[in-house]
């Protein structure tokens, strides 16, 4: 099977890989909406959606009722509802841009996936080869560049709706993105300063960051640093990145563009049916990719534990088949990403929404100086250690 796949035309390979990733991202986006409902219900002391079931699943003795309690069939019910309900187009909107906005929301969300490595396999020579749709040298920069485009859909939706609340939502979205993009970018620079040396190639690649975090325990020496995840080495960076990630993905406590309490629904007030659903799949896809990048940068990517890299686990298991190793690494990576998404939902029901002026103050007066200070501190420290 591996040989057959390797002999395919590169374009066919690319299409297959792309389809495989979209086939994972899209359903996870859908399941996330259910997970959101379930987690919020549990935190509020409710069982959550647990009624829908399809007949053939009801015939399975134990598994069927379990899946029903888990509310898995509500994904289908929700999706079916979204697809088949009337897709109302308000009369006062700019129709072209109104329809364009949800489409534009999906594009950056699905494009950024190409630059994010999501697993690795070990080739015959014992090297760890990362799995990614495209091995772009500018890795992190590509993710930042494309994912920021997602805000255009919010602005476009707010503007095209030709209505006050969506407009305010769109304005807030753009202001928030600019405020937090700065600290987010500055917070990851120490990571790349640490893992790179002058004259190296692909210095912004995410593969390299994970490779650096794949070290083993080598006694109390500088060499052991490689095994520690960056969340322990650079907690302030991780904290700033995570906070900015909440703001960038418009999650509570930073969901200014949406804030249903003061803006009805913000940018999507005028939207309904499948167009509304697309915004949410895009939001979850952004969360997914944001969590993925956080995992790669700070949580060791596909390495199961600090100082226990993937290669070590594969050696213990004695598995050499690249497919088995690939699936193992993807499972570890996805597990971490799903834990991150759970964290997103957990925070949503813990921290109340910040006021708009508080959001701006946190962004400009707290996080930005903190990230600059953090960068300077690590730059000096790295200069001392390596210089």
């Amino acid at each position: 099977m591996v040989d057959f796949y390797s002999n395919l035309h590169p374009v066919v390979q690319g299409v297959l890989k792309g389809l495989a990733v979209i086939m994972v991202i899209f359903p996870i986006g859908g399941v996330c909406s259910l997970a959101e409902r379930k987690v919020s219900a549990w935190i509020q002391g409710r069982p959550g959606p647990n009624r829908a079931i399809v007949p053939w699943a009801a015939w399975i003795p134990v598994l069927g009722p379990f899946l029903q309690r888990l509310g898995l069939f509500h994904v289908m019910a929700d999706g079916g509802k979204m697809l088949f309900k009337e897709d109302a187009l308000p009369g006062h909107v700019n129709k072209f841009y109104f329809v364009l906005a949800p489409i534009i929301a999906m594009m950056p969300a699905l494009t950024t996936v190409t630059a994010v490595p999501f697993g690795a396999y070990i080739d015959a020579a014992g090297r760890v080869i990362p799995l990614a749709l495209a091995h772009v040298d500018i890795g992190m920069l590509a993710v930042f560049a494309v994912s920021s485009l997602g805000v255009y859909s919010l602005i476009l939706a707010g503007w095209a709706s030709n209505s006050k609340y969506p407009f305010l939502g769109g304005v807030r979205a753009s202001a928030q993105l600019i405020s937090y993009e700065l600290s987010m970018t500055l917070s990851v620079i120490p990571v790349f300063l640490w893992v790179n040396a002058p004259g190296r190639e692909a210095t912004l690649g995410l593969d390299r960051v994970v490779e650096f975090q794949s070290g083993m325990w080598q006694g109390f020496s500088a060499a052991s640093w490689g095994g520690v995840w960056f969340v322990f080495l650079m907690p302030v960076s991780a904290f700033i990145f995570l906070t900015a990630l909440f703001a960038e993905t418009n999650r509570q406590p930073f969901d200014m563009p949406e804030s249903e309490a003061d803006l009805v629904g913000g940018f999507h007030t005028e939207y309904g049916a499948f167009k509304w659903g697309l915004f949410f799949v895009a939001e979850y896809a952004h969360m997914l990719i944001g969590s993925g990048v956080f995992t790669l940068l700070f949580l060791g990517g596909w390495n199961p534990l600090p100082w226990i890299p993937l290669a070590q686990v594969v050696e213990w298991l004695g598995a050499t088949n690249p497919i088995v190793v690939g699936i193992l690494s993807i499972a570890i990576f996805l597990g971490k990403v799903i834990a991150m998404i759970f964290f997103f939902m957990w925070v949503r029901w813990t921290v109340p929404r910040f006021r708009y002026d508080q959001v701006m103050e946190i962004g400009w007066k707290k996080l930005l100086p903190l990230s600059i200070g953090n960068l300077l501190l690590y730059a000096i420290a790295i200069a001392f250690i390596e210089g």
């Binding site: 549990w42 409710r46 069982p47 925070v347």
Partner: protein, 180 residues
Amino acid sequence: MAIVPLERKPLTFVERTYVPQIMAGLKTTWQHLVRPKETLEYPEQRPAIPTGYRGVPTLVKDPNGREKCVSCQLCEFVCPPKAIRIIPGEIPPDSPHGHVERAPREFEIDMLRCIYCGMCEEVCPEEAIFLQQKYSMTGYTREEMINNKERLYELGGTLPDQHFKWDKKKHAEEAGNGGH
């Protein structure tokens, strides 16, 4: 009442970072997440009905199987939303309950109008109408939601009687002291 000015302490540096508060909040929400759920899953689990609960109004019979309502229409007059309609009727003299004044020919309670206030129960001199424990009335049409006499007795059933007022009256009449 004297006004006591409270001195507000300025927030410490750690408090201003929000982090300890958010951590404490996460702990609280986690405890809620793992705690058993509060929900009563309704159709399968039913709530315990307390005594004195005012459910659907019903008509009851006494232990001898006599319908207690004498169609005095007090409930019809007192009913605030005008949900009750009574058509009075006679009891045939050859019936075992012939000594009772009257009985309703038709008795309808419109459950789309009823507000479950319990005034009919309060006002009834014969203790014939009771708001019992049934709380869920549903139907597909407006007609289904109007309980007629037959349905009201079916819902009400038989309740114990402490007085047997009409039997006592009959015995007194037969004893021949002017019915007292």
